[in-house]
Symmetry: none
Subunit: 249 residues, 2 copies
DNA sequence: CGGGAGCTGTCGATAACCTGTCGTACAACT
DNA sequence: AGTTGTACGACAGGTTATCGACAGCTCCCG
């Protein structure tokens, strides 16, 4: 038993939900390098191939060379404006799906209407896990025929990411948005232990100030909803973080 | 999946459109690339095969190569005029059904005369869901006599897309056009949760500016008509969107 | 061409709900 | 028993949803 992750080491059973033979190829376009890198890093951590571009020109060049499966595109770029990049992407015949990033007050209204095709958009500052969730959804859907529901499962707990239904056994649970996101993160990572900092960093917007005990609180609220039926699922790893998994015998 | 009525047959519940064995082949002809791409993207998102042409010449060439099952044809083209394209299509013996696009004030009356067959037309700017609905209808009808009605069903709520009759149980409901479209969209996507942005993007005309609470309002009006008999069907997913589905236990 | 009916979207008041902070009680390790 | 880390009740402020009221618009009818 490992002190850090509080579980036996060895081959784990975790298999990604979208089993692709080839890695997903992601192009991240944002003029703010830290943001672009953040997204790329998280994506790589998920096993994707990711490259970043900090300008419209670079983005178009990379799109031609790298042939991404999906693009994250900030609409506020220094040179070519985000819409211009989009037009030229589409104009060159690529039907690659795009997830847009936009400032809260900025071009939000102009963006509306871009999601029609199956693309999506997110307002800055966003939470990394939410971005990843949307990317997965867009990918799944644009994969065309044969996509199926994404259902996460841990023990008798299930989460359907399309219907947003969460069940413990047969019992339907009602979660708030934050609770939902934290639970999704833990379920996705299960049975790996996540530190509170990791949870905070992935589920809350980047730049979130509150270094408080929010995570503990949300977990506490989750437990009340999850565990009133059956044995505890979310386990505390003292001094480290939380895991969700079936209690070891 | 039935090739003719574009929806699932059999005793099971909802089966998505992409499970059809053969994809519908769609040719989109519009000199405005963003519009053509919009339509093509939405169609692909539904699992269709779509190609775009930005001129009459290209359209005729593609019609010969691609052999579409259905064509979306803008009547305002730079080179050959839309009617010319139509004539030459028909002249070459193709009976492929066509849905015309026209500007509001344009040649609306002349178009009306063209829609006798299985064809149809739509005024720009249109809502993508309405276009898709018409395409599905035209496809179904052009399959010849004895085509099958398209009836959407969620719990005891039914919507006949041909007669536009909506019933809750036996009770016939009277919906306004907007209410009808929103309800259709939700029923088609059921039991997946749709965000307000998605609803807005699909059901309202492209280019619609209203960043207000229209969606909430229409849902509110729908609920009043739907739910005065029986239990609530349209459910709010707070912080996310709306779904229509039978309330789980 | 004028009147009326119905449809649609804006605004604003109200209600319902969500979220993070604080503080204290509790549990685990040493 | 001391020390450190965790659980969670309670509360206040903020956010989001609901829906009545209203005005502009279109369409229809005479």
């Amino acid at each position: 038993m490992c002190r850090l992750c509080a579980r036996p080491h060895g081959p784990t059973g975790r298999v990604p939900h979208y089993e692709r033979v080839e890695k997903v190829r992601l192009l991240v376009v944002d003029d703010d390098p830290p943001i672009a890198d953040l997204v790329a890093t998280v994506a790589r951590y998920e096993g994707w191939d990711a490259v970043t571009a900090n300008s419209g020109e670079e983005a178009l060049r990379l799109a031609g060379e790298f042939h991404p499966d999906i693009v994250v595109l900030d609409l506020m770029l220094p040179d070519v404006d985000g819409f211009g990049v989009l037009d030229r992407l589409r104009g060159s015949g690529t039907m690659v799906p795009v997830v847009f990033l936009t400032a809260r007050d900025g071009v939000a209204d102009r963006v509306a209407g871009l999601t029609r095709g199956g693309d999506d958009y997110l307002v800055k500052p966003f939470a990394v896990e939410e971005l990843m969730a949307r990317l997965r959804t867009v990918l799944r859907r644009s994969a065309g025929p044969g996509f199926q529901r994404s259902v996460l499962r841990v023990a008798d707990l299930t989460m359907d990411e399309d219907t947003r239904e969460v069940r413990r056994g047969d019992k339907l649970l009602t979660l708030t948005p934050t609770e939902y996101e934290v639970l999704r993160f833990l379920m996705r990572k299960s049975p790996t232990v996540m530190t509170k900092a990791q949870i905070l960093d992935h589920v809350w917007e980047y730049g979130f100030g509150g270094r408080s005990n929010v995570v503990e609180l949300v977990v506490s609220r989750l437990r009340r909803k999850l565990d009133d039926t059956g044995e505890p699922l979310i386990q505390t790893v003292r001094g480290f973080g939380y895991v969700i998994r079936q209690a070891a015998e």
